[in-house]
């Protein structure tokens, strides 16, 4: 492993008596695009602000290429920041906004002009130099904010929910663009988000945070397919939870009610131990011709929603509410509220967690 670009070591932050960050340790490689993902209040923004130097940690260190920067001012960290509010200077033109950080560095005028042109081309806003921020759309403003942050060629880009204030369509477009830009420039980037879709589509690695701690670090695929905890499973994508009891650990068999299920995953619990099974909605298959006939869960249909690309089934099993998807070509009409349908749970898609109802996320 090369020396990491950024090392965060046992970072702790207390506001009065509340613990905002609890012993956070994290390494980021040069050129990586890392997401801090979590619900509001999980500490992700605090962590970003400490990395930026806008906030001082209570404990812990931050190293940038081996150099300690824990108490350096933002100006000395060679960073660019973009905020959710854009924070463009409304009385300055697009050109003046982007050149703001350059003009202070005694760079000759023609060079500034060239650099701004270059950045405008990069974010696809050629010809907008003389516009004022109020004359731009939200998406355009955010591009200018990005160009302004990139103007000083920072080695670390910090993005604080930069897409949250935009409407859905613009957000989806800008998502792709920001990710492309990041790859193109190779600038190490740390982005805060509460939008799991954003994180999955854009990140090289995702850091899922929960109540000031790191719940899981991994690639988007790892996070989605192998969530470390029920919290991660439920925060990233949708997850069905089903209570179960271990039947035969050596045979990887568990029991749900009276039905037995086989898992692919090793079972680290003794027989009789209560556990929670988890499976993604899209992995559950509505059985039509009696095949397969193993790993079948019989659930009661509560509602059938037509989404367009598929049907969403709201199901009841025991006391649990489950969700499953069904392609539209199936005869959804035959499935009525109140009827019972068989669902196949593929062994390789069933995850198993210790049963601790208090730790399980609640779904509204």
């Amino acid at each position: 492993m090369p020396e990491p670009y950024l090392e965060i070591q046992s970072l702790t932050k207390k506001f009065d008596q509340t613990l905002a960050l609890d012993e956070i340790s994290l390494e980021i490689q040069e050129g990586e695009f890392v997401f801090l993902l979590g619900p509001s209040g999980c500490g992700k923004t605090t962590l970003l602000r400490i990395v930026a130097g806008l906030e001082a940690p209570t404990k812990g260190r931050i190293l940038q290429k081996g150099r300690e920067i824990t108490h350096l001012s933002p100006a000395k960290r060679n960073i660019g920041i973009v905020f959710q509010s854009y924070a463009l200077f409304p009385n300055l033109t697009v050109f003046q906004n982007i050149a703001y950080g350059l003009e202070n560095r005694k760079i000759p005028r023609p060079q500034i002009q060239r650099r701004v042109d270059e950045l405008l081309a990069l974010v696809g806003l050629e010809g907008y130099q003389e516009r004022y921020p109020a004359q731009l759309s939200g998406g355009q403003q955010q591009r200018v904010a990005l160009a302004r942050a990139l103007a000083i060629s920072p080695s670390l880009l910090l993005l604080d929910e930069p897409l949250s204030a935009l409407d859905a369509r613009v957000r989806a477009n800008l998502r792709i663009e920001v990710a492309r830009l990041q790859r193109q420039l190779g600038v190490t980037t740390l982005m805060v988000s509460h939008d799991q879709e954003e994180a999955l589509t854009m990140a090289d690695r995702v850091v899922v945070m929960e109540q000031g701690r790191i719940a899981q670090i991994g690639t988007p695929e790892e996070i989605y397919h192998y969530p470390a905890t029920p919290f991660v499973a439920d925060f990233v994508g949708l997850m069905n939870f089903i209570p179960a009891v271990i039947q035969a650990p050596e045979l990887k068999r568990v029991r749900v009610d009276q039905t037995e299920f086989t898992l692919q995953q090793e079972i680290p619990y003794p027989a009789g131990h209560k556990v929670t099974l988890a499976i993604r909605p899209e992995k559950m298959v509505v059985v039509e011709n009696g095949q397969p006939n193993e790993n079948i869960l019989r659930a009661q249909v509560q509602d059938v929603e037509f989404i367009g690309a598929f049907y969403r089934l709201h199901l009841y099993f025991g006391g649990e509410r489950l969700i499953a998807y069904m392609p539209p070509h199936r005869q959804a009409k035959s499935i009525r509220a109140g009827s019972e349908i068989p669902l196949y749970l593929p062994p390789d898609h069933i995850r198993i967690y210790p049963s601790n109802p208090g730790a399980l996320p609640t779904r509204p």
Binding site: H71, S73, A75, S85, P90, N91, G101, N104, A134
Partner: protein, 590 residues
């Protein structure tokens, strides 16, 4: 040892490494802000309070002066007179202003825009001028008192109407004219915070109009009402000009301080009355703050502005009501203008400009007028600069939070300080060559400002500081806090962002503050009457002195000059803001 190692050591000592110089500069600015507020506002109050607890030889006598004040009916009468006339005026002014604001916002009467401007115009008239206008109308030889010079008696057999102006009636009328526009201004803001959805809900629930008024209108205006009551009360209680001219033998505290200090050279009793005057204003201020603290946003982003519907009778009654009030206000002002350009009001009504030749009367004439203009200009320039900077330091800089909190608290105090109190406190603080604390003697390093333009300007800045400070703070709060963070991350020093972003974005507020300082410095008497020197006479003081000497026409002429100057500056301000608005419109609007 090299410079950089020294730098590193310094960094370690300060626990900070940045641009140490920038961080130090921020801290220095916070400290300077606290220092000027201490010097201008807080410290001068101590000698004033000490003086009220001492005898004429400077010996500590405890509350003896206060005891004497309340046990000498000739003195204590002013305390009760002040409270009485302030309460009655407040009650009347707020009631009248409420009706006026209600008519402007909740009816479809004609000429609303005109009534709005007309109600605000008296803001540029010195309270003294109102009083002089009243003298011309209701005084001993007043136009109405003698029935239009006997003309009414000849034609319709009406002798005239003597309202016994000098005394309670005069103060009441003069103060009403003075505070009415201020109360209207506050109530207009409150009345415009109406959410149409609540009215529609009330209507759809078939509530009668009186119930809508009690359950929707009044509650939405209660904070504005409270504010207007306290502001009006404080203004009347602390005003000096009106009681000086039409108070007659009706003693109030503001004129008492003047009599004690100027007439009898009894500084101890002057200080005592000052502290007594300070108490009700401080209490009024505190109650107002406590009430306003409960105010939450009454108008959410979703509120729909209320659009009054035409109503035949309501609109006509509202028009009549506003018309009568404006007529009364303007007759008084018009009288001042007329009296200043006729030979001898009301007997020889031929036009003349001779009253504008001040060479034959005392007071200082045009010299005093230009001194006032200069003083107001300096107050506007330096007042705006120092106020805006203080607000910026307190609102936007991060270091030394407890000092910044203290500075914010100090910034709220001047609004509760009557002008007379500031003036007297400044005498005690700046005049002595040395301060004595028992056996300790400290040379006074600030004595040099005494008897100069500087002390007049400082008194004005402090006197009108809080309102300007709030204007600046409100403007600054609207600016994104992330501007500073972005600049910091781009390595741009904060003072550059202050100059390139913060100031340009706050320009409308800055101009408003400058105008507020100018107009108020132009018309104020109370803050400067103890501080002007014979070499530096002032227009507003000249009005008092000329009126005192019986040169009422000259006083009217000087009032006219003051009014025209203030209105002129206001017009310049409008021109300037229009220009800025045009320039700014490129980035304000899409």
């Amino acid at each position: 040892m090299t410079l950089s190692t020294w730098r590193q050591r310094l960094d370690r000592v300060l626990g900070f490494d940045v641009a140490v110089s920038e961080e130090l500069l921020k801290r220095l600015l916070v400290v300077l802000t606290v220092c000027w507020l201490l010097l201008g506002v807080i410290l001068p109050l101590f000698p004033l309070i000490l003086r009220s607890l001492s005898d004429q030889n400077g010996h500590w006598v405890g509350f003896a002066n206060y005891w004497r004040y309340f046990n000498t009916p000739a003195l204590s009468i002013s305390f009760f007179n002040s409270l009485k006339v302030s309460l009655v005026t407040t009650l009347l002014a707020v009631t009248l202003a409420f009706g006026y604001a209600y008519a402007l916002t909740r009816t479809q009467m004609p000429a609303k825009r005109l009534f709005l401007v007309a109600a605000m115009l008296p803001l540029y008239v010195p309270p003294l001028a109102h009083a002089i206008g009243l003298v011309y109308l209701f005084g001993r030889k007043g136009l109405i008192t003698n029935g239009f010079g006997g003309w009414f008696e000849k034609t319709i057999g009406w002798q005239g109407w003597d309202i016994h102006l000098y005394g309670f009636n005069g103060i009441l009328l003069g103060e009403l004219l003075y505070v009415f526009p201020q109360a209207v201004m506050i109530l207009l803001v409150a009345a415009s915070l109406a959410d149409a959805r609540l009215y529609e809900a009330s209507l759809s629930l078939q509530a009668p109009p009186w119930r809508t008024f009690l359950t929707v209108t009044l509650p939405s205006m209660k904070y504005g009402l409270a504010s207007s009551i306290f502001v009006t009360f404080t203004l009347v209680l602390t005003d000096f000009g009106v009681p000086k001219v039409v108070g007659g033998n009706y003693n109030v505290m503001a004129t008492d301080i003047y009599k004690q200090v100027i007439g009898q050279q009894n500084f101890e009793m002057g200080a005592t009355v000052s502290v007594l005057l300070l108490l009700p204003t401080a209490i009024a201020f505190l109650i107002d703050r406590l009430i306003q603290r409960h105010q939450s946003a009454t108008l959410t982003a979703r509120a729909v502005p209320y659009q009054p519907k035409p109503h035949f009778w309501a609109d006509r009654i509202a028009f009549g009501y506003c018309f009568v009030i404006i007529l009364a206000v303007f007759s008084v002002i018009a009288t001042v203008f007329l009296a200043s350009v006729v030979e001898l009001w009301p007997y020889k009504l031929n036009l003349t400009l001779k009253h504008f030749d001040f060479s034959r009367v005392g007071g200082g004439g045009y010299g005093a007028f230009w001194n006032s203009v200069r003083m107001s200009f300096y107050s506007a320039v330096f007042g705006t600069a120092i106020t805006f900077l203080s607000a910026y330091v307190i609102e936007k800089l991060k270091p030394l939070k407890s000092l910044r909190n203290a500075a914010y608290f100090f910034s709220m105090i001047p609004v509760a300080l009557p002008g007379m109190v500031i003036g007297l406190a400044y005498i005690f603080f700046f005049n002595p060559l040395e301060w004595k604390f028992g056996a300790f003697v400290l040379p006074n390093p600030f004595n040099f400002v005494y008897n100069t333009m500087a002390i007049l300007v400082l008194a004005n800045i402090v006197h009108f500081y809080t309102v300007s400070f709030m204007t600046a703070t409100t403007a600054l709060k609207q600016l994104d806090n992330e501007f500073e963070l972005i600049s910091e991350s781009l390595g741009v020093p904060f003072y550059r962002t202050f100059w390139k972003v913060t100031v340009p974005l706050s320009l409308p507020a800055v101009l408003e503050m400058a105008m507020y300082y100018f107009v108020n410095a132009m018309v104020t008497v109370s803050a400067v009457i103890f501080l002007y020197s014979p070499r530096l006479k002032l227009a507003s003081v000249a009005i008092v002195n000329m009126d005192d000497a019986g040169d009422t026409a000259a006083a009217a002429a000087m009032s006219v000059l003051v009014i025209l100057t203030s209105v002129g500056v206001r017009l310049l301000y409008d021109l300037a803001t229009n220009g800025i608005a045009r320039r700014a419109s490129s980035w304000r609007k899409r």
